[in-house]
Amino acid sequence: MKTETIHEITPKIQDSSFFTEVRKIAERTNFMDCMQCGVCSGSCPARFAMDFSPMQIIKMIQLGLKNIVLSSSTIWICAQCQTCLTRCPREVNIPLLMSSLKNIAIRENIPCKIELKPKFHKTFSEIIKKYGRMHEPELKIKLIKKTSPQDVFHNATLALRLLRKGKIKLLPPKTDQIPDILVLFETASKEEQK
């Protein structure tokens, strides 16, 4: 929270579109009920990799700190394991909140501190749209192309080992129900726009 002061925050609370947008989400996530007890953050198995704890993200949304929230790594690191939701005494739906924030970040083109993360999500869904299932080698290759080629060697040896154990396959899986899956994607994006 290096740049924004409370004077910058206040007008944003009043009229920021971000705040009203998140408010809409709030109806489903109860995030205004958060009392900052920290159970979510203490329970989070991915907390070590996050720059802000889930609890801090909620506090920042309450204050309308849009840029910090949307550019944080937390929203991308969240693994949707639901432990926080299970333990939250106020039943704040943090996993849903995190995925909603991810969507806003993509829509608004806000760069993430961990460059790979948004790319990963995008590529992941592209592959699903293509084959109807995950094809790990392609995912990895695409991500390597898009980031640094430095770890190509490391990945290649790992891929060989996985291949030998039959954990991954060279050819993509086949499904004849791709149209159905595309309908799923379409419905989900419509839901999101609501």
Binding site: C37, C40, S41, G42, F48, S53, M55, R90, E91
Partner: protein
């Protein structure tokens, strides 16, 4: 009516508050022609001395026998003008007030419309005044004895206070000994007073007091009667030991072959099937646990009887029912803790070293040790708010704060350090709440003594080899921590003790949203229940600490002493009465009464004049019209409705029935705040909206109304769900005459929520304008039906 009705109408200018918006002269002219009006006067300030004198003189001069005052809200000056009537030797209930300030001049801008509305309101009042009856408040003697339910610190204190004042007290306790939860505590915060040292002398004093009779192992099973005269049946379970003969030598327990976990020791120790609850128990006598005793389970043994020197054991003791006749009842049934097991992350009951704070109290007194291996604990985690401060919809936890967890954990930390100076207490807290006298200092002392405070609700407790691992986020550092501990102490949420709901039903009092007893008023009547003569105190009202419980129980004793000490109570005459000849004994009214004031008698039903709160909900429930409500009887209410609807003209007319306290008060507030609402809405104050029957609505529709609004106060005896049912029933009945159900709305309000009511007024007015006025043929049909009725 043998005597001619002579009505005087007095219209107040209120120094311009009314006269600036209402054309008083025009109103006076119009009012003069109303039925039975002999004189109409106006004055600058009716409530001033000259104004009052004018009414007083006129009553004698013009032989008036009814007075209508059109001025401010009756909530303001009803008593003032009733005193005027009393001074003029006229029954004060011959006064009718109508509110042309808060409900007219302050909320409407158009002078023409406001004047029109003032005239119509006064017409309603005059019509009603015509049917007023003289009423005299009655009195009832009050029984002086008091029943106290629950023998914890609250019950003990209240009993002693009352007994010392000279009242006879019956102290009923469910368990074999009085003392309650406080008897289980080691020390008390923040002074470290030994709990037993301050409690047991009081227990002994209670048992020896000539005015107190302790009835142990007993609970009430039925409550009948009325305030000042309650008849309570108490069920006493057998102890199987004669209290008079038992000398607590303990030989019986030595010989008894059956062991069971001790309730007093919170399951951390075992005791025999014949046991003394604890060393200082009052009454100090052994008791046989029927569930475990071999004689009762298998029909053998009786070894205790053989060894008892005093011949105190009696297996033939039977359950008894005692009848008590008391004037007042105090319910102080205390609290329980929730079971932490559903919160899986804390692994409670999966490891012996994860305990509750009440178990920790017992461990302190047993000599502090780890239940798993008996060794002294070195590192102890205190986890606060287990199940407290959850969301409203939580199925596992409760919404409120347990209020004692923080201070209790600090006390335990300091006691732990006293026992083992090397020990490391850690407190995982959400917020430290140190609200009481000396509490903040206590917190500071703990910080000074190196108690580690982690601001963060513990995430999970994992059994890890010999020890336990606690994971949490230190929210102040923004870091996750994971620490090994020897002992984990949970602070479970506090809930009302088992059976509170049944007791509330028996006593006819309410429970709040949190399932604790509900006080009459949060601020001003904190120990009164909604029912006269029944008082509440201690943790049965909500979580609190010993000091607060003590002061509350003393306050309660004082209120009870005032109540039973007055010897007799004056009863408002504005209550329901039965015409016994018409009663067909259907019992509908008994079911309808929200305060259990109606009882069935051989001839029919009887309304208890003390219990009756005058809400009138029973009146519409009677199919034979055998019940009516004094001061708001059918004739009076119908006349007022006619008076107000008569001049409806061309615009749709809406009648709003407002419950007389909170709902009416909220519209007074709207007036004081100079808010505004459509002027075609006319308000009639009623004791409760449940008093208004379909007949009244038909009368209203027949004489010009187009829409009806019901607004009930939130603290009224007539509850939300009853209102909903009532309205559904009314809509059904109105439907038979072709009246659309959209023409009737209802809501509940608190006094400050006048915005909500005004919103409803405005939207409902728009709705009625859209639907249009009720067709004249429908009105004619209703009129015909009413005539034939």
């Amino acid at each position: 009516m043998s005597k001619e009705v002579r009505i005087g109408v007095y219209i107040c200018h209120c120094g311009g508050n009314i006269s600036d918006t209402v054309d008083i002269a025009k109103v006076k002219e119009a009012v003069k022609n109303f039925k039975a009006v002999k004189i109409a006067e106006t004055y600058e300030y009716m409530c001033s001395n000259p104004g009052q004198q004018m009414i007083e003189d006129d009553i004698t001069k013009h032989k008036l026998n009814r007075v209508v005052v059109a001025s401010c809200s009756p909530r303001m000056h009803l008593d003032t003008f009733r005193r005027v009537l009393r001074r003029a030797d006229l029954n004060p209930y011959f006064l009718e007030m109508t509110n042309i300030r808060e409900q007219c001049s302050w909320v409407h801008d158009s002078k023409e419309k406001a004047t029109e509305k003032a005239i119509s309101l006064i017409r309603g009042a005059v019509e009603r005044a015509y049917y007023l009856e003289p009423l005299i408040p009655s009195t009832m003697p009050v029984k002086k004895d008091v029943l106290v339910i629950g023998g914890g610190i609250a019950g003990i204190n209240a009993s002693i206070e009352l007994a010392d004042k000279g009242y006879k007290v019956y102290l009923v306790e469910r368990s074999p000994s009085i003392g309650g939860h406080m008897a289980q505590l080691s020390k008390t915060f923040p002074t470290f007073d030994c709990s037993a040292c301050i409690l047991t002398p009081k227990m002994v004093y209670t048992s020896q007091h000539p005015n107190i009779k302790i009835i142990d192992m007993a609970e009430p099973i039925a409550v009948k009667g009325s305030p000042g005269n309650y008849k309570v049946s108490i069920k006493v379970r057998p102890r199987f030991v004669d209290k008079g003969k038992c000398i607590s030598c303990g030989v019986c327990a030595d010989k008894c072959p059956v062991k069971k976990p001790s309730k007093y020791e919170e399951g951390l120790k075992e005791e025999k099937a014949i046991y003394l609850p604890f060393q200082q128990a009052i009454p100090n006598a052994y008791v046989i646990d029927k569930e475990h005793c071999l004689y009762f389970t298998k029909g053998v043994c009786k070894i205790c009887q053989r060894f008892c020197k005093g011949n105190a054991i009696n297996f033939d003791q039977k359950e008894e029912i005692i009848e008590l006749h008391v004037g007042a009842i105090i319910a102080c049934t205390g609290y329980d803790q929730i079971d932490p097991s559903p919160f899986g992350q804390y692994s409670f009951a999966l490891h012996p070293d994860i305990i509750t704070n009440l178990q920790f109290e017992r461990l302190m007194l047993q000599g502090l040790h780890r239940p798993s291996n008996g060794k002294p604990p070195q590192k102890v985690a205190f986890i606060l708010c287990v199940g407290s401060r959850c969301s409203e919809n939580s199925t596992k936890g409760v919404e409120y704060c347990c209020k004692i967890g923080c201070m209790n954990a600090i006390k335990h930390s300091l006691l732990l350090q006293k026992a083992f100076p090397e020990a490391e207490p850690w407190i995982f807290y959400t917020d430290i709440r140190a609200h009481g006298k000396g509490y903040e200092e206590f917190y500071a002392k703990a910080r000074d003594h190196n108690v580690r405070f982690i601001r963060g609700r513990a995430a999970e407790v994992v059994p890890n080899g010999d020890g336990l691992l606690v994971k949490a986020e230190d929210t102040l550092l923004g870091m996750q921590i994971e620490e090994p501990f020897d002992l984990v102490v949970l602070s479970p949420a506090i809930i009302p003790s088992a059976g509170t709901q049944e007791l509330a039903q028996m006593l006819g009092v309410d429970l709040g949203h949190d399932a604790f007893f509900l006080e009459r008023h949060h601020k001003l009547r904190p120990v009164d229940s909604k029912r006269e003569g029944i008082y509440l105190t201690g943790c049965a009202l909500g979580p609190k600490d010993v000091r607060e419980t003590t002061s509350e129980s003393m306050a309660c004793a004082s209120k009870v002493a005032t109540f039973v000490g007055q010897g007799e109570i004056s009863v408002s005459p504005e209550i329901a009465y039965v015409n016994i000849d018409k009663c067909n004994k259907c019992g509908n009214c008994i079911k309808a009464c929200p305060v259990s004031a109606i009882e069935s008698i051989p001839q029919g039903v009887e309304i208890n004049s003390i219990s009756c709160v005058g809400c009138g909900v029973c009146v519409p429930s009677c199919p034979e019209k055998a019940i009516d409500l004094r001061h708001c009887n059918d004739a009076q209410l119908t006349a007022q409705i006619h008076g107000i609807c008569e001049d409806s003209g061309t615009s749709p007319r809406i009648i709003a029935f407002l419950e007389n306290k909170a709902a009416y008060g909220s519209m007074d507030l709207a007036g004081q705040s100079r808010l505004s609402y459509p002027d075609n809405i006319r308000i009639i104050g009623v004791p409760s909206t449940g008093r208004v029957s379909s007949r009244h609505l038909l009368h209203a529709f027949a004489s010009g109304a187009d829409g009806i609004i019901f607004i009930e106060g939130d603290d009224s005896a007539f509850k939300d769900n009853q209102l909903r049912e009532h309205v559904i029933q009314l809509k059904k009945e109105l439907g038979a005459y072709g009246i659309e159900s959209l023409r009737l709305v209802s809501t509940t309000t608190t006094l400050p929520q006048c915005d909500k009511v005004i919103d409803l007024f405005t939207t409902f007015n728009e709705r009625i304008s859209k639907i249009g006025r009720l067709l004249e043929e429908k009105r004619a049909k209703i009129r015909k039906a009413l005539e034939n009725d």
